[in-house]
Point group: C2
Amino acid sequence: MQAEIIAVGSEMLSFGREESNSLAITQYLTRFGIRLGRKLVVPDDAAQIGEALAQALERADVIVLTGGLGPTNDDCTREAVAERLGRGLEENPQLLAALIKQYRRFKIHLSDNNRRQAHVIAGAQVIPNNRGTAPGLLLQEQGKSIFLLPGPPRELLPMLEEAVESLLAQLANRLPRAERQLQVVGLAESRLDQEIEDIYLSYPDIETTVLSSTGVISLHFILQENGDAQAHRLDELVGRIREKLGPAVFSDRGEQLAEVTGRLLAQRGWSLAVAESCTGGMMGAMITDVSGSSTYFAGGVLCYSNSVKTRLLGVKESDLLQGGAVSEPVARQMAVGVQAQLGTDWGLAITGVAGPTGGTAEKPVGLVYLGLSGPFGSEVRKLQLPGDRMAIRRRAAYSALDLLRRRIIQ
Amino acid sequence: MQAEIIAVGSEMLSFGREESNSLAITQYLTRFGIRLGRKLVVPDDAAQIGEALAQALERADVIVLTGGLGPTNDDCTREAVAERLGRGLEENPQLLAALIKQYRRFKIHLSDNNRRQAHVIAGAQVIPNNRGTAPGLLLQEQGKSIFLLPGPPRELLPMLEEAVESLLAQLANRLPRAERQLQVVGLAESRLDQEIEDIYLSYPDIETTVLSSTGVISLHFILQENGDAQAHRLDELVGRIREKLGPAVFSDRGEQLAEVTGRLLAQRGWSLAVAESCTGGMMGAMITDVSGSSTYFAGGVLCYSNSVKTRLLGVKESDLLQGGAVSEPVARQMAVGVQAQLGTDWGLAITGVAGPTGGTAEKPVGLVYLGLSGPFGSEVRKLQLPGDRMAIRRRAAYSALDLLRRRIIQ
């Protein structure tokens, strides 16, 4: 089965506005083996919407339109689709009653434009909208399925989960495809691919996707069928890749690195403190993004200036003068210092040259030292990280969290 | 003039992959008054590319294709366009020589597929690619302009700036439009719009766009012509809006809030330290995102646990016990404490309930206290912030930076 997405809305064609709904829709489509054939953004223009729909019907089995169902003057998707298919629009009494209730609650006058949201294209199935006023619609035409879904993500995303997913399952007449994922840290994408290419290429029936973002890589493995045999085959591939990559794999459930590292600490009743120089709080922010992190995260010291390194963390002034702030002894003393100062089980430290200025021949931009101090003593890791200021900082924070994670599971 | 964008690449139709090039291209188009009529993502399929081009030629004056110019087997944009327009492909000797040189440098064999990157559609103008192997092309057809641009953003973005911008200026035969922008903090989008709607609606010739992201709003004002009269009119509108919004406007140059607050500190020779509880380092990360922030930012304390608040910042245990960590006295003592502890001119503190758990009837999720201590004494601000955990944390950090900024410029 093949699908096309038509996103309707003039605002998505002006500068600075993204079209993001299609990413969520694609996720649901591919879950049932429905391939996305193309996607299109058109303005709020009935003629263009109608024409795009007609062309999509020539190619695709499933057409998903989003946006243009609301109460404002320019919203015209419902009317454009009805006209193009030569179908009438009927006012649905239940929808109208619900609409009147909603508008009364917000003390807004129900104008004729507002009232259009209770109109249903003849023969269409209504998809309830629990977060807004305009329902979704599903219709069949020439043996093909056409979805009309609302544009605002806060209405669309719950509707996808609550209703569209099961409708797609019915259309595709199947279970969701079988899939697995792995999250990997500490390997460049090209290096990772070299390592595992031979393995996943020997499973040509499994679709392997490598999604890379700064510092972390997601691997997705998909089989278009689902059953015991498929599950077994996926588990076999995933098992071989886990074996090959070893501790570089940190999750098989799409978790954040800070979440996994935090859980390892919590399971052992350990507490953590951080000392951040070049990352300036980024690692602390990652750790505390996780709700419940207070059970293991005590806090830390942002020692952007050298005087904070000496005053709060006890870093020796002589070491700062001799080797500079970006050096092995300073990273170690930061970790040991923050652990002692906050009285935690672990101290984790980052000091580096994030750039774009401040690099030297001896200490180039991207040079980072990580310090770790814990129940088993202290250690330092030296890294040379690629990318711009933001990328170096993100990679440094991920690398530090990863260093702690590997030390715990070792 | 009207444009359409056709992004070519099957990978952009698979899950998890965004199409982002069109956002950058739209920025350049609108700069010369060229409106985007629609945008489309098609797979690497010559028939579909050719058909999409033919249809776009019926509607638009400028068609921009991106992607599919590279050396791999599935790259076929160049060939598809040539075929659809009935034009030949010629090997360009200069391009071939450059290509041979590049491939020799990287010790890669120049296959026939690689060699296609030196092919030029008959009559096309070559747009140099200084970051990759496939050049861009510009051709005229039926009085319309067709751009073929590379897909990788690291090649495309510099090409837009270095070559495409001036080509668009020639095509549109005009200067860039006149535009202004303002960055606003501390107002909800609906409230902001209420405040300024009467003003901008009285300039119907100026296009006003409100782009909102969590905590910060950008206002863009555009006049499609450019000259002294237009500049004067834009300045008048911007002046009236600045007057209305007062200190809520923090930049007219698209700067980050932390950049502006930092510059105010630097200009006065002041230093800053932060104490972060619920934000866990997010404010420090924002401050140190700015290169050169070490001239005014000393660092700070992440006091996620209460014991860090007392041990490192001198917050009174009695106040923590009586009023809790999210309270007026604790916020004040955090600010005073970090200022004293780090010996800075200013101390800025955040304590709050970020959620999703931990809220009570008395202290609901979103309750945040900001503390500020500086040359003029100390103060505390109580906020009730909307949104999820991430939004509350971001809004808290922006609000704190804004509190300091307003105190300095007051």
